[in-house]
Subunit: 698 residues, 2 copies
């Protein structure tokens, strides 16, 4: 064992980074912005929300249970334990500070890490609110709101995710005892992936096949107690635990549960809609199921708004670091700083701009579309309450495509930003690695991103057939049938652009997106209806058609959202956002160029113009890059990134965080005695060195 | 505290998964393959290597230090400690078993996780072998080969990665004492990311700016002792430690080091090439530096071969699981199993095939190109030793593009396979999450993948200018100038295909790739030379041109490799590989369609044919899917995946691995008393329940 003091903390010498200093660089970037950052921030969030945001931030920044400083060093056990502490403290804080739901959501957003109780608020409570009778509300919802019972939502099984109708867990009604018997008939019927179930929950909403008098009515929800309220032990007949480590989300106790002929009372069947008559087991059918589609739209609108934050976070980190980071002297265009030639900021390289600036534009695109979806959701809810379902189908179809496209775009954007940070992007201190890990399930859950495109394409096909057959009345025309109709009026039209600048007209861009989506829909319908292709064989093209429609929706909402905001924004801010919209359109077109060329709306020459336009827009946007990410107003506490700090002190932060690495708490590793010393001291035995080492000998 | 026995291990009930059972399904898949798997395996690896592989596998599968069963559950400290044990045992095993370098490489490949000593073998030893004098070999290399000294390679700094010329660490020669003084002048000059430096190494190759008599000669390598050989303490003047947690590679102690006027003897300067005269500090220039380009080609050929394994591993897991996993009944084409309609295997969905089968084709493409690169490397080394450098430039340029393209493709392929596994792809038990994390740095290190494309494009431009000016002699024509020349003979030619089947002719596909790469090169040169565009402003297009050339290289090597193998392979195996080559070409063309359309070699109608061909090839390849991944012969020990097991026992394996999750070692979580009980028992205080819970009350 070590004969010296081994507990010497590692400290970097007090030296400055090679200049130009990060804080001065970012200040200079901010000074050259063409618009007022705060104006844009207020436009996006509103002052009321921003005040709330600051108030909540101030509280949790000073709460030890919300401290993030250990986050990147901990193993899973420690992380879960800390997440439990945060959950407990969160319940207390909400009471102490009289937080509204919005305040609590802000606190969770800023803390930015799911925890064992996340699904209690996220799924257990909403299900109890929506699907229970008054009696059940008293029994389950009331204590749940006070966290006197803690719940989760157990739907997916080891063998079934996407296909809910294929779930295996059964709930058989026993007429004689007025109970349900929950049972897991196979290994694959084990509930799996259930957040909060592994260790935290004492109740679960269990989706199980309802069996009444021998007949299978398919999956229905039950509220089931699974652990003792006295001492938290699993109840008899239940096998429950944690499903083990995951790529991310390791602060959540995703769990499994199996039931062995487990009896629950009749009241456990959530009976707001469908019902089971006591004693006879007679099934009473639920009313129109369409209402639940509205909720799905709401969830997806929030996912799109979440994509906005995801892209904004990733871009904030990558843009600030790219402004501070220098690499190579650009001989053709050398950078001067205090009269000396210095290395060029990587943000000034065209490729770096191409990799990152469109991601900022995507974040703004998601903001405008998310806002529009929430508006339409509210309009549709009001309509549906009045018995009018006209908006629903279009909204639902677009929301499927948007969930699919935007979350895929977010994952790609986060990873592109991480790579654009070079080597340090791979350090956990970048904040991007763990963020990527935790964000990633979004492409799989709430509808797998490939499967979802089928919903969008199915709707597009239906609309196309109706429009093509002149069966859509003018009064029934909506966004989708509108552009399909327009296309059919002139299916051979060509893009009129003769030079790159012509694409600066948003209508020229929009028309190209409209034509592409419509012509692809037409071709798809033709292959299905006239060429006898099966749906399965067309799923690759189906995914492309959905994407084409959805990108049009995003661009269209961006442009119309901007037009509507004209009176609220100064002309300089308007111009900055206009550049974002054009960059979004032009870059997206370039990425999807093949579709536009195949549709023959765009010529190869015009394709070259769009490439030129994109490069031109990059240099237009470049001076605003830092201001455009600043406008999202994401605080350092939220980012928790050495590279993305507001003050640009990248290298100071990297070294401070390295000092905290647990391996550095000891001067010499514990593995030395067993794994290094025997090898190295063999050299001493051979007489190669004495004392401290070879250098002493030289 | 718990008043019951809390240490009850979690055990799943002994139930079978819902059928069809995984082992039977995979056996059926194997039975329907159209070719002999073992024949293909032997073709790729050779019997000698396969024997070696089995021998080494048998040894390490039975070595506790090589056990993988804890891998997915451990925190970083435990993982690093285990990695040290494996390193120590590896040194012993190599001695005990008299392993050759190849045997050790196989062992490390199978263990599939870098460790503190990895860079000792990977960079420290090769540098000492190549860059030292005989005296230095005796002093450094001899003990290093015996692990009596343990080293690392310290090049990158906190502020400099890609730009080696920008490194800040200095090594100033002190004429009076015949020493060098190594010094870190700023915070950013700290060496950073150095594998093995954090805790393991006692020596480092340090790249530092050589300063002689006040003049800066740029970065040069020094072999520097950094820790005591007696007790492993860092030596005076040195600050060294671990850089902290990373996205992956957390079994490696990537480190930092700073030097405070640290003196080392003259012998530390690696003097095989450049030299510093003792006493005077006179610099003796090194001979031709071109030789080192050869080594780079070798490293990159191995990276491409590594991509083959990476894609093969990911595809093996995803394909086997997709054969076993069922989801939805395909109503249009219901699957029968033992006379009952069962859910369809996800591998039978077109979209799933489209997501995965091209990845297998990419793996085979990388095999053929990697093999060809190694052949060319050997030919070139022999040539260079004879003073002939004609092969070098083309080989180096292609190798840059290949490293860039193939590693990007690998990362994408791993992640696509992970997503294609649905929810369970996100579990660490899939084996794909940690693999992705550890593989990811390949896109950044050994040349950032974007920066590298500039090397390829620069060479293409040079060749194009020479060919266009008729300056390339026929005897000097190589692969690249050959296709550029061909293009210039007929720059307006069109693809002759009139139906999808025409693209089944490899020459038709190849010609399209040739035309595309050549026309893009021409356009790039035109913009640079005639339109006055700057290199920086063209970097986006430059990356595209490099990709176009490199994809052509991959396809071309695939097809010519197959032609050359005609006599070694049975016709059925040949046919299976031919399908792979066509799928690789057709799918790549489809992914890059815009380039082909812009070049106007392909028409929009022909684009449709290529899409049809791809779908057609997917169904041709489908019956061989499992056999094609089996042929890579990756053992379960290597895959360490619940989803990818050879026997298809996916669900049995998922549940067994979940039983091992440390959170399941206790029935009730340690967080219960502090974080759950106070909340839940408040309900008891309110009289809501007694005893075990609400159910007792009902």
């Amino acid at each position: 064992m070590a004969t010296f003091n081994n507990n010497v903390p590692t400290k970097f010498p007090k030296l400055d980074p090679k200049g130009p200093a990060g804080d001065i660089v970012l200040a200079a970037e901010r000074a050259k912005a063409t618009f007022n950052t705060q104006e844009l921030t207020k436009f996006m969030y509103g002052e009321e929300w921003l005040d709330r945001f600051s108030r909540v931030l101030e509280v949790i920044e000073n709460e030890p249970a919300f401290d993030k400083s250990n986050r990147y060093y901990q193993g899973r056990n420690e992380r879960v334990a800390d997440a439990f502490k945060k959950d407990k403290r969160m319940v207390e804080l909400a009471r102490e500070k009289k937080w509204t739901d919005v305040d609590s959501q802000i606190a969770n957003f800023l803390y930015d890490q799911s925890s064992p109780f996340s699904l209690h608020s996220g799924m257990f409570l909403p299900t109890l609110k929506n699907q229970t009778t008054d009696e059940q509300k008293k029994l389950f919802l009331e204590p749940a709101l006070k966290h006197q019972i803690i719940g989760c939502y157990a739907q997916t099984e080891l063998g079934h995710g996407s296909n809910v109708q294929g779930l295996e867990t059964t709930a058989t009604y026993i007429n004689e005892t007025n109970e349900f018997e929950i049972h897991s008939p196979t290994l694959t019927s084990s509930k799996w992936w259930i957040g909060g179930l592994g260790k935290a929950a004492n109740h679960a909403i269990v989706m199980a096949r309802l069996i009444l008098n021998g007949k299978d009515f398919g999956p229905h929800p039950f509220c089931v107690q699974i652990r003792s309220l006295e001492d938290h032990r699993p109840l008899k007949g239940i096998t429950v635990g944690d499903i083990g480590p995951k790529f991310g989300f390791n602060t959540v106790d995703n769990g499994f549960i199996m039931f062995d002929h487990y009896r629950i009372p009749h009241i456990s069947f959530l009976a707001r809609y469908a019902q089971v008559k006591q004693g006879t087991g007679e099934y009473v059918r639920p009313p129109n199921a369409k209402l639940s589609y509205g909720t799905m739209v709401f969830v997806r609108a929030n996912i799109v708004m979440g994509v906005r934050f995801a892209l904004a976070k990733a871009a904030t980190i990558a843009i600030r670091y790219s402004a501070v980071r220098n690499q190579f002297v650009d001989a053709a265009n050398p950078r001067k700083w205090e009269n000396k030639v210095v290395e060029t900021a990587v943000l000034d390289y065209t490729m770096q701009q191409y990799r990152m600036l469109p991601i900022i534009a995507q974040a703004y695109a998601c903001f405008f579309t998310g806002r529009e979806m929430l508006r339409l959701y509210n309009e549709n809810q009001a309509n549906m309450n009045a018995g009018n379902f006209t908006l629903l189908a279009d909204l639902h179809a677009s929301s499927s495509g948007l969930k699919s496209l935007c979350t895929t775009m977010a994952v790609q954007g986060i990873e592109d930003c991480r790579r654009a940070c070079g080597g340090h992007g791979y350090s956990m201190f970048s904040g991007l690695g763990s963020f990527y890990q935790d964000y990633l399930p979004n492409v799989t859950w709430e509808g797998d991103n490939y499967v979802l495109t089928q919903q969008t394409a199915r709707y597009l096909g239906k609309q196309f057939r109706s429009v093509a057959a002149n069966k859509t009345k003018e009064s029934d025309m909506n966004f989708t049938s509108g552009y399909l109709y327009e296309y059919l009026q002139n299916p051979n039209s060509k893009c009129p652009a003769v030079e790159a600048a012509d694409f600066m007209n948003p209508e020229v861009l929009l028309n190209a997106f409209r034509f592409r989506a419509a012509s692809m829909t037409q071709k798809l319908v033709h292959q299905l209806d006239n060429q006898g292709k099966s749906w399965n064989s067309m799923t690759v093209e189906i995914a492309r058609v959905s994407k084409a429609h959805t990108q049009l929706v995003l661009l269209s909402n961006f442009i119309s959202g901007l037009q509507a905001a004209r009176s609220d924004l100064s002309s300089s801010t308007m111009q900055a956002l206009r550049n974002m919209a054009l960059l979004f359109g032009s870059h997206t077109l370039e990425q999807e160029l093949a579709d536009f060329l195949v549709s023959q709306y765009l010529s190869p020459d015009q394709a070259g113009m769009v490439k030129d336009l994109t490069l031109d827009l990059l240099s237009k946007v470049r001076p605003d890059a830092v201001a455009l990410v600043d406008a999202f107003a994401l605080p350092d506490y939220y980012l928790h990134s050495a590279l993305g700090r507001y003050d640009g002190k990248v290298y100071e932060s990297m070294t401070e965080m390295a000092e905290q690495e647990p391996l550095n708490h000891k001067l010499v590793t514990d593995s030395y005695e067993e794994c290094i010393k025997p090898l190295v001291h063999a050299g001493k035995a051979e007489g190669r060195w004495k004392g401290e080492g070879m250098q002493a000998k030289l």
